[in-house]
Structures are given as C-alpha cells and as structure tokens.
Amino acid sequence: MRALFDAIANALEAEAGAGEVLAATLQAESSEFARLNAGRIRQAGRVERAVARIRLVQGDRQAFHQVTLPGLDAGDDAVRRTVGEAVSALRAAVLDGAPDPLLDLNRDPVVAVDEAVAAPFDRSAFVDTVAAAAGDADLVGFCAAGPVARGFCSSTGSRQWYARPRVSFDWSIHLPPDVGADAARRAVKAEWSGAAFDPVAVAAAIARSRAQAAVMGGPTRRLAPGEYRVLLSPRALADLLEMLCWGGFSARAHRAGQSPLARLAEGRAALSPLLSIDEDLAAGFAPGFQSDGYPRPRRIPLVRAGRMGELLVSPRTAREYGLRSNAASEHEAPESMRVAPGALATRDAMARLGTGLSVANLWYLNFSDRPACRITGMTRFACLWVEDGEPVAPVEAMRFDDSLYRILGEHLEALGDTPAAMPATDTWEARSIGGLEAPSALVAALRFAS
C-alpha cells in the first residue's frame, strides 16, 4: 500500500499545472472478513480497496473527486491514468463553482511516516482456533484482519503516511433456547484486538466469555420504569461518550446550533468534576495528520473536570468563524478520546454499586432532546441485577432516556481506576481507525423509561 501511496504522490506532482495545487487523502485496506453464526462460517471473504480523494486548488477555487484506485498493486502508469482522469474532470468542474473563501490547505512539504507491520492473517488458524474454543457454544462473531492505512500527499511535496496491521474480533455467546422463552436475547459480548492474530489469547478470551455466559442462565428479572443505580462497564461508558462525537466537540456544530454540548460550552450546564476527557493521539488509534495536511496536536483537552475544554476546530471552520484552528479533522469529531481514570478499584466496583444494574453494553443510542443532551438507548447483552454487590439475575432489555448532564453530571459517583482501550471496529464504507479509552463508571441514578 505504501508503493500505491507513493505512486499517487508522484502522479499529483506530475499532473499539477501552472497555478494549480493538487492534494489527496488515501484510505486503503487489505482485509480478510469472517462472519460466524453458531460458531461456524456464515460469510467470509477478502476485500482489497484503496480510495483517494483528490483535491484541485486553482487560485481561490477548489473541488474534490474521490476515485477508487485500480487495485492495491496498481502500477505507476495505472495510478497516473486514474489520477489524471480525476484531475481533468476537476478542472472542468471547478469553474462551475465559486471562489471559496474558506479554502485552507497546508502547502508545506511535510514528510512523516508512522507504519507498523505484522504477520499475515492465517485463515485456517483463525477458523480452527475459534471452532475449538467455541465448542458447542452458540458463538456469533465477526473478524476483520489485515492492514489499514491513511495518507496525505500533495504536489507541493507533502507525504504523510499512517499504516497499522490490525485484527479485530468481536463475538457474543448466546444461551441455548431451552433456557427460557427469551433465551435468544441472553448473551454476553466480548472483543479482542491486536496487531496479529494470537490463537492462545483469543482461545482464552472465548473461554472467559463462555464462563461469563453461564451467569445469564437464571430466571430473568423485569424491572419497572424508574431510576436505578448502575455500574457502566468501560464499553457502556464508551457507547455513551461516542454520542458526543455527533457534534459535541465540533466548533462548527456549536456555531450551527446543532451541538448536544452547547449548554456545557456556554456554561449553562456542567458535567461532574470527576470527568476529564482528552483527544489524545498518544493512544495510537489515529494518524498524526488531518485531511488538509496539517499535523495534529498530540493532545487536546476536551473536558476538564466537568467543564468544556477546547472545541475541535478544523482549518475550514476557523476561517468561517474567525477562530483559531487546532488542526481538527474535517468532521471535527474526536478520533482518539481518552477518559481520565478515577479511583474506583475494579474489585470494589460491585460492592460500591450495592443494589442496582451492572450494564455491560448499551445499544442503539440516539438523542431524544439534543439541546438538553438527553440520550435514549437500550441495555444489551449482559445486563445484571445486583443485590448487595452480588449479581442475582439477568435483566430484560431496558430503555433508558436521560440527560448526560445528569448521568455524567450530578449522578456520577465514581470512575474506575482501570481504563480499557477500545479500538474502533466499524466497517461501514471502510474499516475504521480511531478508538476510545475509558474506565467503568458508577452512576447513582439512570432513568429507565420502559
């Protein structure tokens, strides 16, 4: 993929005409995908794809054309042809538009390489490992393996490259149907990720999740709507915080009246002083450059002891609203959030919860009142009723509907002392990069609506 990136950079330098600047961002992957149902292969294959978003700047005008490169091994000539066709189309289109006063592109010749490699993925080893570890358990899962890469290059000499090998395997263990009428929904979820597939570690993780699934076997409890104490796992807290990527820290969303954290930024509301969140590239989830070619700061404080820290400001938003850019990505969403841990020891967490709900996963979150940062969603997978610090029964899926200003504000009692790293596993148009690091959270009251 690195050779492909270099070929694109060379093509941009060759194609740029007088008075023109060309730039491109590259998104590439060579992925093995395996989808499992009942511990067996349901759908598996390989996808090789590289997409370049080519940008033409002519004076004060610009236009973009995203093209799929003709294969990861495309040679210089094929790449030059693809880039050349896109640039020709852009030259025709850019005149139909208008001058763009918000145009901002880093023309410095920044060269940076952040690359790691690992052993290739062994399909048979994966299938055999999972089959043996799952045994007769109803394991449903998905594995995505292989390198992912991002790049930025320009005709002015910039070449910034980020590539990581990654294996992401997440699965759920479902109880057999004879356990109860709603058995199909009694399950535990787990995830494993690494640079290369590790059969020993994955087998051990599957064994742990099978043991955890046994806890879900007793009679379920149905709770009445109301407020309950909850212990959110790191994954469940991450599920909540990922909602803030929908404009919560975006300077543009704040100016556009579409941020769920507008009241926090304006000082009309506050979160708990226990809560501090950084956008922190040191977590290694995301590259150190953004789509306009600017190097990103290593760390940006987003929330400081419950108060709004810095907003994410892209170069374009900075020009639009007269702000100072902090080289945020185009979408101004955090890619590498890190929540500062608290003092709640994992071994003490259930005792501190006392009586309430232990929530492993949340599901299908959405804003029910965005200005109030009110979020609704469901519990999913292992949600347990706890009495006096001991889990006593799985709980039927519950809907919560509550404001984050309460959940992580006045009702946040403690954060765990052991954060978990959770690389993004989304594969919508391409495999995601990014991720989040968060601890567990003890919340005095969460409103359940149904």
């Binding site: 995908f33 598996a44 996808v47 003709p70 294969g71 100016r255 959405n366 609704t376 899926a397």
Partner: protein, 484 residues
Amino acid sequence: MSGPIAQPRPPSPGARVVVRVVEEHSESLRVRRSLVQPFEASTDRGAMVTVWRRHGVGYCATADLGTESLQRAAESADGWARLAERHGVFDGIDLLALLESGALAPDRPDLGEPLPPRAALIDLLRAESDALHPDPRIVSWSASLRVTRHEQQLFVDGAPRIERSHRFVEPNLEATAVDGAMSQTRSLGGQYSGFTQQGGFEVVRASGLLGGGGRIAQEALQLLAAPECPTGVRDLLLMPDQMMLQIHESIGHPLELDRILGDERNFAGGSFVTLDLFGRYAYGSPLLDVSFDPGVPGEIAGYAADDEGEAARRVWLIRHGILQRPLGGGLSRARAAARGVALEGAACARAVGWHRPAIDRMANLNVEPGDTPFEGLIEGVARGVLMRTNVSWSIDDARNKFQFGCEWGQLIEDGRLTTVVRNPGYRGVSATFWRSLARVGDAATVQVLGTPFCGKGEPGQIARVGHAAPACLFRDVDVFGGEG
C-alpha cells in the same frame, strides 16, 4: 459501464464463479450559509468475485479488473469457500442449486427528466439557500443535491445474468434556528434525505425543494417558539415521512430472514419474529397491508432482479394484518428450509457495492393506502398528536421496544389540528404497536420516500431503501416532549 472484463475460470473442480461488477459515479452540490461549497464527485468501480461450492461459498473483492487479478480473486474466494465447506453453516444445503434460477434480467429504467447543467443547479440551490435565511435566529442553513449513476452487471459462470442502470437523486434543505439555550432544526426530508428517488429532475420538483426554502425556515422559527410536546397517552397521526422510519425499523428489519436465522445477533441484533409465525401471526390490525414492491415508479430500491440474480416481483409481507412471508433471499430461504421451514420470500439479496457481499435487505417496503381522506384521519380524535419528519430513532436488538422522535408536531384536539409543538416523540413495542393502527389514509396521503442510509451487516453496508406510505392513525400511544 466501462469496457468488458475477462471472466475468471473456476479455480478448482466443483467450484462455480459469479462476478458482480459495479460502477458508480456521483456528484454533490451544496450551498451552506449562502456560500457555494466545493464541488464533490466520486467514481467507484470494482468487482465482487464469489465462488460457490456445493456446501460452501467465499468472496473476494478487487478494483483491479485485469484478467490475472480476477483469477487471483477467484482463487482467494475459493479458499474461503473450502473453509466454509469444512466448517460453515451450509450442511445439508445444495448451494449450487441456487445458481440455477433466473434468466438474463436487463434493468434499464427510464432515467427521468434530464438534469440542468451543473451551474444552473448551483443557482437553484443558491436561491433556496437565500430563502432559508430570513431571520438572524437561523444560524445554519443549507441546500443540497446529490446525483448518483449506478451500473451493475452480474455474470454467472461467465454468462450475463443482470444488467442494471439506475440514477438516484437526493435533494435536501435544512435550517437550524437558535434562541438562547434552545435550538430547533427543520428539514425537507429529514437528516437522512428521505426524498431520495430514482429518476431525474422530476425528483427535485416532487421533493418540494424548489421554493421550499422559505417554508423550511419559517417552520424552524415556528418550532423555536412552540411549546414542548405534552406527555401522556394520546392518539398518534404519523405522516409519511415518519411512517417511513416506523415501517423501516419495526417491520422491515424484524422481517429480514437473516436476522431471524441469527446472523446479525452479534451486531444489528435478532428479531422478535420467529420462523413459526409466518402465515398466522397477527402483526397488525386488519387494516395493515405491507408489500415488497420493486416496481413502484421512482421508488429508490426498485430493480428487475436482486444482486444474486433472482427476478424481483411484488409480494405481500403482511396482508390484512397477518404476517405472510419474510424478507429473505434465496440463500436464507434455503437455510430455513434446511431447518424444516419452507418459506416464500422476496428477491432481496443485495449488496451496497462491489466491495460487499449480498445479504437480506428490505429494498422497497411499503404500507398500502386505505380509503380514509386526510380530514377523516383527524375527525373525532379528541386528544392526539400529528408528527412528521423523523429526527431520532432507537429500537432494541429484537426490533421490538422502540422510541422515535420527530422534527414537527401538531396537536389534534376535538377533531381539529391546533397548536404546533416541538420535540415530539413516542414509544411503543413493535409486536403491539401495529395492532393499534386505527385508520389508514387514502392514496392522496401517500408519499413515495426513501433513504440512502440503512445500515446493516458485517462488514457494514449502508444501503438504499424505499418506503411509500399513507398517513396513519394509531390509538393510545405514549407520547412525550423535550426538557425545554
């Protein structure tokens, strides 16, 4: 479609090769805050090579359409197919038999009225953008249009099976008004572009984009000043641009046969519907008729054959309230049959592009009109709320317990539409909600809508789905508003 490609040979004895070539080109125009945004285009072309064996299947997708590359892709796909034969979910299923059905299905629908030149379209959007900003309380506004040409060919054993050529048109307007700590957003088709259809410029006109900027802005300002939607049990009148979401989440997804078979339990979830319910389960009131209809003119997910080559036709999913059949393509139906449940389905095995394999998707899923004119839907309703344009959606992993919110609400009091209310929302349970369907609007209340943003599958796929529906009245629903 660009030039022909060389078809790969079967990579090993017993293997058969299916190649799906997809090419898409899109152009996006947008005027935001009265500023013309940079032109954005996208060109994507590649091939999905699938190898089918008697009891296993695998795939490999590549954008290198050269002969050697496609042959390597077939060999890679065969490797997964062999593993699936050894340890897959296909025991007892003759997968090769699935390739026998279907004949060449050319699918070249009318592409509609020609679109004006790019510069003229930008002028149209600029005019609407200006109309979207009549008041300084409107702090964000935009007018946008995306046009996508999609072409696809499917080859089975080297012989053509599908030829498809579609054009999708996606217009939208949006305005956000702010006053102090309150903000309200109003849009033309919702945040997921509900007016997307196949066709040409007639789609733009039908959407209401032309001349719609002023109305959208005024409605955003009206919502800003409106009281919160009240909380309590009321009758609920859903307009088509909320019905589409209601159909999608609480009929479409639960009826997907791959979900019922458990494929999505680790991701998008399962379904409260089980294999034994088809043909007898009362999904809704007797007024509920739901069709899978690939032939509605202009509806976004219409096609002659699905992405595995099965010819598509209109079928009933729910008739007079009774569940008839799932949304299941050929492979899912074969798997259900292997479990001893023979079901009729729909030609709905679909993939979003060359880089994703086909799974069960809902395509065009429509609620059929009744005979009640709009006035009759509110007549006699003592306490109700009309809601339109989805803004919030959440449903449990069995597609049962849901909570949805809308941009626009209006109270119904003693048979009359009265006060506009903001942040309207409602909760329910799919298994019982449709049984509270009390009145179904006539054909005059129907809108043909659709969205390019339905997510499902591992790896993920964001698909185009169509939903045509009339306005519908539901009894005794839990409604609520925002916090103010």
